[in-house]
């Protein structure tokens, strides 16, 4: 369980600090003021990033770049509280001019490094994606169990669909029963980057040749004055040799509001056998076991739900340009 589940850690994080979270893959590489500032702070910690190594961890520092405390990720709430206490003690000893509200001037950000910038698709669709190991019980499914610590928790990721791709989802005919294929780019993105087990770490994504079957359709189920309802049905088979594969069926309910040019519902569930794991997701259960994935609209008013999909580190494959 996350350290932040501890009530005191949660409270202190919110009241005594300004909490921020970033993906080290991007931050340590950025050649702009964001990356330079981060490296300046990280260089004061054990995470020197030699030869491009990871710099992940929990850092506490001042707005003008002095490191107050560092710990590796993981550990328990007690470790985090010690870090908080150490950081607070050091902060309180700083000159008042550097501690008081408005005491530090932060220079303008400057031009971001475009190589490591990922921009939320304007007028597009952002989906929140969760995956979980399951087990069958009577005629239903319940949370699965496994030996890997935390492997029974829901995973999370985000899926981005551009404005043009959103337009391609609108049925060419708003007629009851009209059935059409989910646009190929979106279908391939879902299959390669989101029908994946990321419950135990960062997975390797499916390559195009691993997508053996990817039949996903949309059917118009209701047409009202200002709403078109769609049902999504899918049959996907993903396979990389004998030991790694996922064979889910998909079912979804979508609703498009023409006056808003937006979907106000985009719920999809994937359910099927999963087998195997990749390099950074060890500890999968033996054999073929049920794995479920749920998609739904994200709340992009929250900064934390505007972060880039894990698969978007390499933009071309994610957007189907490879």
């Amino acid at each position: 369980m996350s350290t932040f589940a501890d009530p005191e850690v949660l409270k202190l994080t919110q009241t005594d600090f300004v909490p921020v979270s970033t993906d080290d893959w991007y931050t340590r590489r950025r050649q702009d003021s964001e990356g330079e500032f981060f490296r300046k702070v990280a260089d004061q910690s054990p995470r020197k990033g030699l030869n491009g190594a990871t710099r992940q961890g929990i850092y506490v520092f001042t707005a003008d770049g002095e490191l107050l405390a560092f710990k590796n990720n993981g550990g328990d709430a007690g470790d985090m509280k010690k870090v908080f206490a150490l950081a607070k003690a050091k902060f309180d000893k700083l000159p008042e001019a550097r501690r008081k509200p408005g005491g530090v001037t932060v220079p303008a950000a400057g031009k971001p490094d475009a190589n490591y910038l990922r921009v939320l698709p304007e007028d597009g669709i952002v989906l929140k994606v969760h995956g979980r190991i399951l087990q069958a019980k009577a005629e239903a499914f319940v949370k699965g169990t496994c030996d890997f610590t935390g492997g029974d928790q829901a995973s999370r990721d985000y899926c981005w669909i551009t404005a043009d791709e959103k337009k391609s989802l609108i049925p060419p005919k708003a007629e009851l029963g009209f059935c059409y294929d989910l646009p190929a780019k979106i279908a391939l993105r879902l299959a390669r980057f989101h029908l994946i087990d990321n419950t135990r770490g960062e997975p390797e994504f499916w390559k195009k040749e691993h997508v053996r079957t990817n039949k996903i359709t949309l059917t118009v189920t209701a047409v009202q004055d200002d709403a078109i309802e769609l049902r999504l049905d899918g049959d996907v088979k993903l396979e990389s040799g004998e030991k790694l594969g996922y064979e889910p069926k998909l079912r979804g309910d979508l609703r498009y509001i023409p006056s808003k040019k937006a979907f106000d519902r985009f719920d999809i569930v994937a359910l099927g056998d999963y087998r195997g794991h990749t390099t950074y997701t060890p500890g999968s259960r033996e054999g073929r076991t049920p794995f479920g994935i749920a998609f739904g609209l994200a709340d992009t008013t929250k900064a934390g739900e505007r972060i880039a999909p894990q698969g978007l580190r390499d933009r071309d494959p994610y957007y189907g340009r490879d």
């Binding site: 964001e34 929990i58 850092y59 979980r132």
Partner: protein, 93 residues
């Protein structure tokens, strides 16, 4: 007789081949319901998505750039807490 033997032989091979194919096909561990009704879908969503107690870190209003954190920290006179992971902590696994 030769023709009969040949046809019989072919039939034996065909049946044997079919049996082998049947034995090789893995039995699915996931009995996906024939009818994925709206109720079944809602039930699955509930099981898959984070439940009470999971993703406690979601209760925190995380910023997602260090620059934004610096501006806020300078304004409020507070230190910054950065949770940095390879794979975004808020969106990976």
């Amino acid at each position: 007789m030769t023709r009969t033997l040949l046809l019989t032989g072919l039939a034996v091979v065909a049946i044997g081949g079919f049996t082998m194919w049947q034995a090789a096909a893995p039995i699915s561990a996931t009995p996906v319901p024939e009818q994925m009704t709206a109720e079944r879908m809602a039930a699955l969503q509930k099981v898959i998505r984070p439940c009470e107690g999971e993703d406690a870190f979601d209760k925190i209003a995380w910023l997602t750039t260090i620059y934004d954190a610096r501006v806020k920290a300078a304004k409020e006179g507070k230190p910054i807490l950065l949770w940095e992971m390879d794979g975004h902590p808020l969106g990976c696994g």
